[in-house]
């Protein structure tokens, strides 16, 4: 019997670091050079199948990085099981911003949240401003997962999401755990059944 699990994942980070691009790569395996920046939060889903046949469905919220909407961010990381905090390796300031997101998550999000720090635009290594060592050291200190990715080339994208899927608790269903989940919890049940009826691993809509 294969297990099906469902988790809420939120992407955070400064504007233009490539959050939406990472999701587009993960969900549709595509990349656009010219993307409208997100004003709001986009909802997408993607399923990964692990080696032991467990399928993990991510409900992804890709948030707007703009400072103006910062007050709304808690609505999206509230009840999230995992967060991907993205910085741009060619912008040192974006790592600072990532650090402040991580501090906020550590203070305000569910204590069991799995946080991954993700250095994007690895294909632009020539213009690198953030060294691998610096980021990795910080991630270790804070107990975060860390990887560099390129939404453009696809490098590391699938791996980071799979690694998160593996790290998430596989024993209890998140919907059973999260008492605070209201509407989303109800939907979880429905979607899981639907997923069972459909072919597994199917790509779900992308609207980023």
């Amino acid at each position: 019997m294969s297990k099906q699990l469902q988790f809420k994942l939120v992407l955070l980070g400064e504007s233009a670091v490539g959050k939406s691009s990472l999701v587009l790569r993960f969900v549709k395996d595509q990349f656009d050079d010219y993307r409208e920046s997100t004003i709001g939060a986009a909802f997408l889903t993607q399923t990964v199948t692990l080696d032991d046949q467990t399928t993990v469905k991510f409900e992804i919220w890709d948030t707007a990085g703009q400072e103006r909407y910062k007050s709304l961010a808690p609505m999206y990381y509230r009840n999230a099981n995992c967060a991907v905090v993205v910085y741009d390796i060619t912008q040192a300031a974006s790592l600072e911003k990532a650090r402040s997101w991580i501090r906020e998550l550590q203070r305000q999000a569910d204590p069991s949240i799995v946080i991954a720090l993700c250095g994007n635009k690895a294909d632009l290594a020539a213009r690198r401003q953030v060294s691998e060592e610096e980021a990795k050291k910080y991630a270790e200190e804070e107990g975060l997962m860390w990887a560099e990715t390129s939404a453009k080339s696809g490098e590391g994208v699938h791996e980071i999401f799979t690694a998160i899927a593996k790290k998430l608790p596989t024993t209890t269903s998140p919907s059973a755990r999260g008492g605070a989940r209201t509407g989303a919890a109800a939907r979880t049940g429905v979607d899981l059944n639907k997923q069972a009826a459909n072919a597994p691993g199917q790509n779900e809509p992308c609207n980023c």
Partner: protein, 868 residues
């Protein structure tokens, strides 16, 4: 090719069933009646037939599916875009008839299996679930002879196996075909075509309050939300499109309610029945007759063709003019028609009903010939009679009745309600069939429950829940039969109607020691009321009227009532215990007899008259009457169908596996610039659908507890739907009322908020709204205003206010205004009573230096004092 078909079907079927045969066909005939509930699907064109088999407990059963391409444009139908149109169990009576050139017939019944002749030409097949089924057979044509043969042989095999099983088990286990249910359920359909009018209460409730709870990052139950949004959208499109170019037909309805206190008619009722007195020579029709003989006479009278009681003079009929201002429908509700205990226990004869009916016709005078009784309903003491103009009687149909007892033990009929539902199809000059309007009349007799408002309210809620029209339930006396296709419909609430008129008589008002009942009596002392009533009735002032309205509204949530200008209708008494107006001195006079209506956004209903009839003295209550004008929209059915379907096809798919909704907002920053107190500012946001499918949206709050928008913003429309390739405008308006202005005058004048627009299965869009408030001397605390060192518009910082002890004795703005009024306006009549002119007020507000501080709704000075 066949493999493709097979896969298509396989994708739709569950793993518990196997696909035995598939066949591509064209649908050629499907009767309108069977299609009633699926008319959104194309009525002809490509269909896939599939035979499914299901085995359970070693028993095999079959079912034939009819699949219809879901997309309108058939060429675009991809394999998964089929919907199950019909799922026909292959039961004992299942029949497929094959015809070629309408001659060779193949019947599937085992007794006469005919070999199918090979042919190049098309074969048509008719499928029928069984001879006893009311539904007409479905007819298809196909060219795929081999496929057809397979379908036939599988059907035959499954049917045989079923019959063998039935023989073997001696009918012990009946086939239920329960497994086929999931295939028949769940295809979205526009209910505007499939069912009657929606519940008025829902129709009048803002849609966003009916959707599932949702907030930023928690979209709620989208599947059910989009259905509601879509339904509402289709409805509003129809309203826009059809009401503007369809005519309306005016229907005049006269309604009367009368609590007769167990009496039989002994008086001329013409003022109540017609609104004015007929001939003076009224013969009390029934006074001297015993109830038994009365029944005889009544029946005779109603048996004669004209339906005209002999009591009116038939010879005068030729010159009766069919006045166009006369009502088209007369509805009369009686309470306490029968107070006998026996009446509670057995349903009594129609003696009393006939007596009242005769009295009504008698009171119609010479006009009686123009009318006939359509239908009536009685439950113990409650009687409801609908009389219609003869010339319109063919327009009325589908009569239904309902009743509910709420009296002794909560069920007996001494209290409760009776209801009648009538469909009115306006005359049609052209060929097409009109869409009927549903009229519902309720006559209720309720207990007052002086002591407990909650209890009474609960009782009303309970009553209106129980008062339903059961499918096929007919009225007591109906000239028409209920149509057989009614049987399949579920029970309907009295609120599922276009027009709802509700009569109520309240009983059980005790004596006036109990002043806590505020609902049907006014909150005045007994002597005050009598004083008031002894003067002129138009002195029933606004305050009392308002009080009555509010109290009624509490119990009858959502209903409307015309302002009451008549005297209380209860309780009258004969003889010495009465005051000079006839009211019982021991009871506080009360408005116990009321006529209410439920407003509808789809059908306009205007009340033109509301009065009591003090000249009718036979009961301890006075009769009350009301007149309504209803605009029924002349929807042509085929036009309506076409219109609904043309919209529906654009929005039938709101979720697809390979495409998600994509909308673009023209503006996500809405800046109102500088805004003023009490001046409405409006901005529009264009929402374009740039994706491949229709998209529904709704505004949501940031958290489950948060409101969707701040009080100074209104959003028109809070929910909506944008078909693919089109766009819509959302209107955001800003209005700063008095209380907010008071805060902003002394606080931070920058206004900002973020609105969240959620698109189903997609995104939360953020819309930033900003405005800068221009301070005004309106809506301020006078003490605060007196501390202003400079004109308020030039106030940059609240810190520069004078300390309270150095404030001027009165604000300069007030002084100037008063000076001006004393020198210029001393002679103006009603200066402090009438509201000011809006333009003038806004001018005064804008003139720097002359600065005021009051609300516009009242006269300046009065508000100034109240604010102080």
């Amino acid at each position: 090719m066949a493999n493709d078909l097979y896969n298509t079907v396989k994708a739709i079927t569950r793993s518990s069933e196997t696909v035995k045969a598939v066949l591509e066909t064209e649908l050629i005939l499907i009767s309108d009646r069977t299609r009633d509930n699926k008319s959104y699907l194309p009525s002809r064109g490509k269909r896939i037939l599939a035979v499914l088999s299901h085995t359970e407990l070693q028993r095999e059963e079959g079912c034939l599916l009819v699949l219809c391409p879901r997309y309108w444009d058939e060429s675009s139908a991809a394999p998964h875009d089929y919907a199950v149109e019909e799922a026909i169990p292959i039961g004992i009576n299942f029949v497929i008839t094959i015809t070629q050139s309408r001659r060779n017939t193949l019947d599937l019944r085992p007794s006469n299996i005919v070999a199918l002749s090979q042919s190049r030409t098309e074969l048509s097949l008719a499928i029928s679930p069984g001879h006893d089924s009311a539904a007409d057979p479905l007819s298809f044509v196909t060219q795929d002879i081999q496929g057809l043969q397979l379908v036939l042989s599988e059907c035959r095999r499954l049917k045989d196996s079923l019959m063998r099983a039935a023989d073997g088990l001696g009918q012990t286990r009946q086939s239920t075909f329960a497994w086929t249910a999931p295939y028949m359920a769940k295809v979205p359909q526009p209910s505007i075509l499939t069912s009657g009018p929606p519940d008025l209460r829902t129709l009048n409730t803002p849609l966003h309050t009916l959707l599932s709870p949702a907030s930023a990052g928690a979209p709620g139950d989208e599947a059910s939300d989009i259905e509601l949004i879509r339904e509402d959208w289709v409805r509003s499109k129809i309203r826009e499109e059809l009401t503007s170019n369809s005519g309306t037909s005016l229907l005049r309805i006269r309604v009367g309610t009368f609590n007769v206190n167990g009496k039989l008619p002994t008086q001329d009722l013409s003022t109540w029945v017609q609104g004015h007195r007929v001939r003076a020579d009224f013969i009390p029709p029934l006074e001297q007759m015993s109830p038994l003989s009365l029944g005889e006479i009544a029946r005779d009278l109603f048996d004669n063709e004209s339906g005209l009681p002999q009591l009116t003079k038939p010879e005068s009929s030729p010159d009766v003019s069919d006045g166009s201002h006369d009502p088209d429908i007369l509805v009369f509700g009686f309470q306490e028609v029968d107070l006998s205990t026996e009446a509670l226990l057995y349903s009594t004869s129609t003696v009393r009903e006939d007596a009242w009916c005769m009295a009504l016709f008698a009171s119609l005078g010479e006009k009686a010939i123009l009318y006939e009784k359509l239908v009536s309903k009685q439950l113990v003491g409650m009687l409801l009679i609908v009389i219609v103009r003869k010339s319109l009687s063919p327009c009325f149909g589908r009569l239904q009745s309902g009743s509910v007892g709420a009296g002794i033990m909560g069920v007996m009929g001494n209290k409760g309600a009776v209801a009648l539902r009538v469909e009115y199809t306006p005359h049609s000059q052209c060929v097409g069939q009109r869409k009927p309007a549903v009229l519902t009349f309720v006559n209720s007799h309720l207990a007052a429950f002086d002591e407990m408002y909650e209890r009474r309210n609960a009782d009303f809620q309970d009553l209106s829940k129980r008062l339903v029209f059961e499918p096929g339930m007919m009225s007591d006396t109906s000239p028409q039969q209920v149509m057989p296709d009614n049987i399949t419909e579920g029970s309907r609430s009295v609120f599922e109607t276009d027009v709802l008129i509700w009569m109520v008589s309240v009983i059980g008002l005790t004596n006036y020691s109990n002043d806590s009942d505020l609902n049907y009596r006014i909150n005045l002392s007994d002597s005050d009321i009598r004083g008031l009533l002894s003067s002129e009735p138009d002195l029933i002032d606004d305050e009392i009227r308002l009080g009555l309205a509010i109290r009624t509204k509490k119990a009858f949530d959502g209903f409307c009532e015309h302002p009451i200008t008549h005297l209380p209708s209860y309780r009258f008494s004969m003889g010495i215990v009465a005051d000079h107006r006839g009211y019982d001195v021991k009871r506080k006079p009360a408005w116990t007899d009321r006529i209410l209506y439920f407003p509808s956004t789809m059908t306009a209903c205007r009340q033109s008259n509301y009065t009591s009839h003090p000249e009718i003295t036979m009961s301890d209550h006075k009769p009350v009457s009301a007149e309504f004008e209803v605009d029924t929209v002349l929807f042509d059915m085929s036009e309506l169908n076409a219109c609904v379907l043309s919209h529906w096809k654009n929005v039938v798919n709101l979720k697809s596996l390979d495409s998600s909704p994509k909308v673009r907002l023209r503006d996500t920053m809405v800046d109102f610039g500088s805004v003023r107190h009490a001046c409405r500012a409006v901005k529009h946001i264009k929402v374009e659908n740039v994706g491949d499918i229709a998209c529904s949206y709704r505004f949501i709050g940031a958290t489950p507890e948060a409101s969707i928008h701040p009080e100074w913003i209104t959003i028109e429309r809070m929910t909506g739907l944008v078909p693919q390739g089109s766009d819509t405008d959302i209107t955001i308006s800003l209005f700063i009322g008095d209380s907010l202005a008071t805060c902003l005058n002394s606080g931070n004048p920058e206004l900002a908020c973020t609105l969240i627009m959620h698109t189903a299965y997609g995104k939360d869009h953020f819309i930033t709204v900003a405005a800068k408030y221009e301070r005004t001397c309106f809506a301020n605390n006078l003490e605060w205003l007196a501390r202003l060192p400079v004109p308020i518009r030039t106030l940059s910082n609240v810190d520069v206010l004078l300390p309270a002890d150095r404030a001027t004795s009165a604000p300069r703005e007030v002084m100037r205004l008063i000076n001006w009024l004393m020198s210029n306006a001393a002679g103006v009549v009603g200066l402090f009573v009438r509201p000011g002119q809006p333009e003038l007020i806004s001018q005064i507000r804008e003139v720097r230096g002359v600065r005021m501080f009051v609300s516009e709704r009242n006269s300046p000075a009065i508000s100034a004092w109240t604010l102080a």
